[in-house]
Each structure stands twice: as structure tokens, then as C-alpha cells.
């Protein structure tokens, strides 16, 4: 049976005042990007006067489900979470729905056909990010007919950003046969693996023109490998990455990276707006896309001083 609406406000974990309680389940702290994301949520909750129940899933879906279920028993007002994976949320979200708790997805989508299970999804479009990377490449090599050998550093196998950034990119470049992905391996989204895999690429692939890395960290690791091999990153090998964290932007401004597609972690303020609306029962759009852009070295130099993460 569904618990009645009236109970939810009064019993919220906050202790009886009128503060909105938000249960937020984060994926983990697997990267600087994620930590910035967490920080953004925490800070904007504080400044919006929202009582935040934060739970870290340490990269495991089961932990996230547990957390959501606990939020339901604690009768928070709104639940928000960044799904670890796309599938498998039907059951627990239905429990939330039965308990009349609105759910907001952040950063990553879920694939449940029943879109009434959540109020909205706020986050980037990873496929679009891949496409942006591809489009820049196509433009860069416009008018040239020599084959372009690309190596790709993928994210963790199976992770949504890895999948989508790969497919978006592939979709754009497949239009022109001169683009060829000669090697593609996982760099696990980390610098060390990015460096290690790139080192091997440099030896096993005689000719590399372009490196496409699914995040900045792998790209930064790869730069070290390229330099150790006596090549000049950004010149001998063109580098495209995604994310635009501070370190990546610095490298971009130094022309070691040629192009970065932004993927902003600063969802906090937007999320808090949505939380308030959801609590108030206002209608909100099913999909909210974070404001994101792309950076060239010149733009990076400009943006760098004001970069927060």
C-alpha cells in the first residue's frame, strides 16, 4: 500500500522543520570529475537550504539500491541519484513511486521504458559529446585525403560514458573512410592506464595521427607517454579529450591537447531548482541538459582562470 502524502513531510529525517530533505546517492568518488560533482551538489544544497542525505555507492549498483530503499524508509522528500548503470531500477523506483517520493536522475540516464518512475533527468548527453569530438576532427582534416590513423583510449568497459562517447565519435567519422581507428583499448579512465596503454600503442602502431581519449585523465597520461617517446603531443599527434577538468584545460592551453569537449560536473544549482519544483509538485521537463561547450586552446586560455574544478 502507498503511504499517505501527509506523512512524508512531517517525518522527514531533518527533525520536523519545513526544510526539504533530499536523498542523494552518488556513484562514488572514482575521478576528480565525480568529486567536483559531489561538491557541487553538497554546496548548492547547503546554500539552497536543503537538508541533504548523501550516500556513496562506491561504484556498486546494489549499494545504490540499498541507499534508495533506505531513503524511502527514512521518508525523504526527494530522491536524486546518478545511476551506476542504466538498467535495473524498475523495482526500487516503483517503491519510491508508491511512497510518493519524486525521483530525479542526474548525470546518467536509465533505460526503463516506464518514464513515470522519475520526474526528470538532468545531465550531459555523452553521445553528443562523442559527436562533438568527431565533428572537430572531421573539420580539422577537411580537404586532406591522406588516411588519418586514430588511436582511442576508452573508458572503463561497459560504463555509459565510455560506450556513448565511443559510439558518438564513431558515428561521425564513419562518413569518411580516410579516418581509421587503428587501435582502441581501455584506459580505465585513469592516468596511469592511459599512459601505459599509450606507451604500448606507440610501439605497436607505427603511425599515429590522432588520439581520442574518453576523458582528460587518460589523455594527460598519454601525453607523458608521447613525450617519453620523443614526440610532441598536440603537434605530432593530435589529441582530443572529453571533460575539461582543470588539468586538462591547462594542457590544452599549452597546446598539448588540441580540443576538449566539456562535460560539466556542476549540476548542483540546477538540481536544487528541480528538487524544489518537484517537492512543490510543479511540472518539470523530462530531460534537462547541462549547459556545456567545447574548448580550443585559445578558449582554454580564456576560461582557465575562472575554472573551479
Amino acid at each position: 500500500g502507498a503511504s499517505d502524502e501527509a506523512g512524508s513531510g512531517g517525518n522527514s529525517g531533518g527533525g520536523g522543520d519545513d526544510k526539504i530533505t533530499l536523498g542523494f546517492s552518488q556513484v562514488g568518488a572514482e575521478s576528480g570529475w565525480r568529486t567536483a560533482n559531489t561538491k557541487s551538489v553538497q554546496e548548492s544544497a547547503a546554500s539552497a537550504g536543503i537538508d541533504l542525505k548523501f550516500s556513496d555507492a562506491q561504484g556498486k549498483q546494489e549499494n545504490q539500491i540499498k541507499a534508495i530503499r533506505n531513503f524511502i524508509t527514512q521518508r525523504v522528500d526527494v530522491i536524486a541519484f546518478s545511476p551506476v548503470v542504466e538498467s535495473g531500477w524498475g523495482t526500487v523506483l516503483k517503491e519510491a513511486k508508491d511512497a510518493n517520493i519524486p525521483v530525479i536522475l542526474t548525470d546518467r540516464a536509465i533505460d526503463d521504458p516506464d518514464t513515470t518512475l522519475y520526474k526528470t533527468f538532468i545531465g550531459s548527453d555523452f553521445v553528443e559529446e562523442g559527436k562533438k569530438a568527431g565533428q572537430w576532427l572531421v573539420k580539422e582534416y577537411e580537404g586532406k585525403s591522406d588516411p588519418v590513423n586514430i588511436v582511442e583510449l576508452q573508458g572503463s568497459p561497459g560504463a555509459a560514458p565510455a560506450n556513448d562517447r565511443k559510439s558518438g565519435f564513431a558515428e561521425v567519422i564513419k562518413a569518411d573512410p580516410k579516418f581509421k581507428v587503428v587501435a582502441s583499448q581501455t584506459g580505465q579512465f585513469t592516468r596511469t592506464d592511459g599512459k601505459a596503454v599509450m606507451e604500448t600503442f606507440l610501439k605497436s602502431q607505427p603511425d599515429i595521427d590522432v588520439l581520442y581519449a574518453h576523458n582528460d585523465d587518460m589523455g594527460l597520461g598519454a601525453i607523458e607517454a608521447i613525450e617519453a617517446a620523443g614526440k610532441k603531443p598536440g603537434t605530432d599527434i593530435k589529441i582530443i579529450t572529453v571533460d575539461a577538468v582543470k588539468d586538462g584545460m591547462t594542457a590544452l592551453s599549452e597546446n598539448k591537447i588540441n580540443f576538449i569537449v566539456e562535460c560539466s560536473p556542476l549540476l548542483g544549482p540546477q538540481l536544487m531548482d528541480l528538487v524544489k519544483k518537484a517537492k512543490g509538485g510543479e511540472t518539470i521537463p523530462q530531460r534537462v541538459i547541462t549547459k556545456e561547450t567545447t574548448f580550443t586552446p585559445e578558449q582554454a586560455k580564456e576560461a582557465l582562470p575562472s575554472r573551479q574544478y
Binding site: 567536483a36 592516468r191 604500448t200
Partner: protein, 339 residues
């Protein structure tokens, strides 16, 4: 010939050779070594360089396993040491001065020693089962590392620090030299002194060892301290390699690889006899395996499967019973029962 076949390390070496040979066939100039900017450059050098952290961790793990224990916390200790080093270097006024960096490195390793003592205390003094005792630090340690870095990736720009993991000395990778020195130290410590014998005795039979007057407790604590110290050095190499501390990725799952290396090298997990050469070889095999998967171009989806197959083959090849059953060598032998 049979003697050679029966040698403890024959099969690991054979697998290593096969792995390298497959590179010869499937990937270009894998074996070329050139001089690049005054240092050696080539895939084989990569293998030496990249084996270093795993070799270090496997060394410590070998000693721990010899006493019948296990240390799951090495990965977290790696993360902590890298995080602390990067944090401290970030605070240095002149990160390019050698002295302060050495001090920082010393501080990081000292912290790891404390963690080693902690593990040893739980196991030897409180008598908690090693797997659980070290699980505590495995879980909490990574949190500590993240606490140090504030969950961010800490970047450092320090030439002396960079040398540890990415530098060269006389054209040879420094990380390799460090690992080699650690191996030499461990060999000297265990085989030149009586430590090896006492370790094997404690691992083989704790009760008998106690009655023979061995200070099992002290020795047990010591091996955990060693394991943590080596893990700490490995963490420094890991973080210095990319001049940054990533508390999440550093040493992730390295405990499994290290244990795998130790066992591939012929040391039994039940404790007792151990082989340092075997563990080093095991670590090199695992690194080679990872590099081979990339250089041969195994698709991402099948990398793990590839690893599984190699491990299975190696295990079976090492099993005397398997060889006997399949090749009928050495005559069948059913049960190993003490006389």
C-alpha cells in the same frame, strides 16, 4: 631434460617466453630497443619499468604468504603513500630541490610502516585472521588516501619526484632499479640471514615453531611491515609515473595480481616454502600479459578472457598431476600423504 622440466620455475619461464614470442608474431618491432633522448626505449624496457610496482608488492606479499598470512591492504597503502607524497610536495616551496623531496618520500614510507605495524599488530598480537585484519585497512585506507587528496587528483610538478617512476639513471629506468634493489634486499635479508628459515618455519607449523623458541609474533609483525613498506614504494612509483596522486586508481586490485604472481611463482598460499625469484617472475608475467593484450590488439571485451586463458594454461602446466595425467610423465601419483 627431465631435470629442467621439473625445475620449479620452468613452466612460468616457458609461459613468459611464449607470451613474448607471440608479440614477435603479432606486433611490430616489439623487440627493438633504441636509445631515445639518452635513455633506453622499447617494449621490453616498458615491461621492466611497468613491472616495478607489482614486483615490489609481490615481494612483500611473498613474505606475508610465507608466514601463512595474506595482505589485502597493499593497494590502499599504495594509494596512501602516493597521496601523502603528492600532498607534501605540493606544499614545498621549491619542489625541484632534491633534499626536501627525499624527505617527503621518507615521510610517505614512514607512514606506510605505521600501517604495516598496524596490520601486524592485528594479526600477531590480537590474533585476527589475516584476511579480515587487512581487509579493514583495505577498506579504510583508500578512504584515508582520498581524505588526503580531498577526492581530487593531486598534480605535482617536481622533477626529482618524477624521476622515481618515470626517470632514467644511466639510461635504465629508475623504477626498475628500485625494484631490482628491493629484490636484492629481500633476497639478502631472507637468504643471507636466518630470516627466511624462520619465516618458513612459522608458516609451515606455528605451534612447532613456538616450541622451538622462534619469536613468531615478532617475525609476523615484521613481514607485514615489510609488505607495507614495499607497497609504499610501489605507490610512490605509481604516482610519480604520472606526477599525480589518484587515490582511487592507485593500486586498485593490485592485491589480487600480487597474490597471483606469488602463486604462479610456486609459493603455496598455505605458507612455508617461498620463492622470491618465482614471485618476481610471476609479476613480470602478469605485466607482460597486460602489455601483450594491448600490443597484440586484443579487443577490450576479450582482454579479461585472454588473461583467464593464460592463467588457466599456466596453472595447469604447473600442476605436476595435470602433466602426469595428460602426458603420462613421472608416473601417476595419487595422494600426497605424509609418511
Amino acid at each position: 631434460m627431465t631435470n629442467l622440466l621439473r625445475h620449479r620455475l620452468f613452466w612460468p619461464i616457458a609461459v613468459l617466453v611464449v607470451l613474448l614470442a607471440s608479440n614477435l608474431v603479432f606486433s611490430n618491432n616489439f623487440f627493438s630497443i633504441t636509445l631515445q633522448d639518452g635513455h633506453l626505449y622499447g617494449s621490453l624496457i616498458d615491461i621492466l619499468r611497468r613491472s616495478a610496482p607489482l614486483v615490489l608488492v609481490a615481494l612483500g606479499m611473498t613474505l606475508v604468504i610465507a608466514t601463512g598470512g595474506i595482505d589485502l591492504s597493499v593497494g590502499s597503502v599504495m594509494a596512501i603513500s602516493g597521496a601523502l607524497a603528492c600532498l607534501l610536495i605540493g606544499d614545498l616551496s621549491n619542489p625541484d630541490a632534491v633534499g626536501p623531496v627525499l624527505l617527503v618520500v621518507g615521510a610517505a614510507i614512514a607512514l606506510c610502516l605505521v600501517f604495516g605495524l598496524w596490520n601486524g599488530f592485528l594479526v600477531a598480537v590480537l590474533g585476527i585472521q589475516p584476511i579480515i585484519a587487512t581487509l579493514i585497512l583495505m577498506v579504510a585506507g583508500r578512504g584515508v588516501a582520498q581524505l588526503i587528496t580531498g577526492g581530487q587528483i593531486l598534480n605535482v610538478r617536481s622533477e626529482p619526484y618524477r624521476v622515481i617512476g618515470a626517470g632514467y639513471f644511466l639510461a635504465v629506468p629508475v623504477s626498475f632499479l628500485i625494484a631490482a634493489a628491493a629484490v636484492a634486499l629481500t633476497v639478502a635479508l631472507t637468504r643471507r640471514t636466518a630470516l627466511g628459515l624462520l619465516l618458513e618455519s612459522v608458516g609451515g607449523s606455528p605451534t612447532a615453531s613456538r616450541l622451538a623458541g622462534i619469536r613468531a609474533r615478532r617475525i609476523t609483525i615484521m613481514v607485514y611491515v615489510f609488505a607495507a613498506a614495499f607497497a609504499g614504494v610501489a605507490g610512490l612509483i605509481y604516482s610519480s609515473d604520472v606526477s599525480s596522486a589518484d587515490s582511487n586508481a592507485a593500486g586498485n586490485l593490485i592485491e589480487l595480481n600480487a597474490i597471483l604472481a606469488v602463486v604462479l611463482g610456486g609459493t603455496a598460499l598455505t605458507g612455508g616454502r617461498f620463492s622470491i625469484a618465482g614471485s618476481v617472475l610471476g609479476a613480470v608475467i602478469i605485466t607482460t600479459l597486460d602489455i601483450t593484450a594491448v600490443s597484440v590488439g586484443v579487443p577490450v571485451e576479450t582482454t579479461l578472457l585472454f588473461k583467464a586463458v593464460v592463467v588457466i594454461i599456466l596453472c595447469l602446466a604447473q600442476s605436476a598431476t595435470f602433466r602426469a595425467k595428460v602426458f603420462g610423465r613421472f608416473g601417476p601419483k595419487r595422494a600426497e600423504v605424509p609418511a
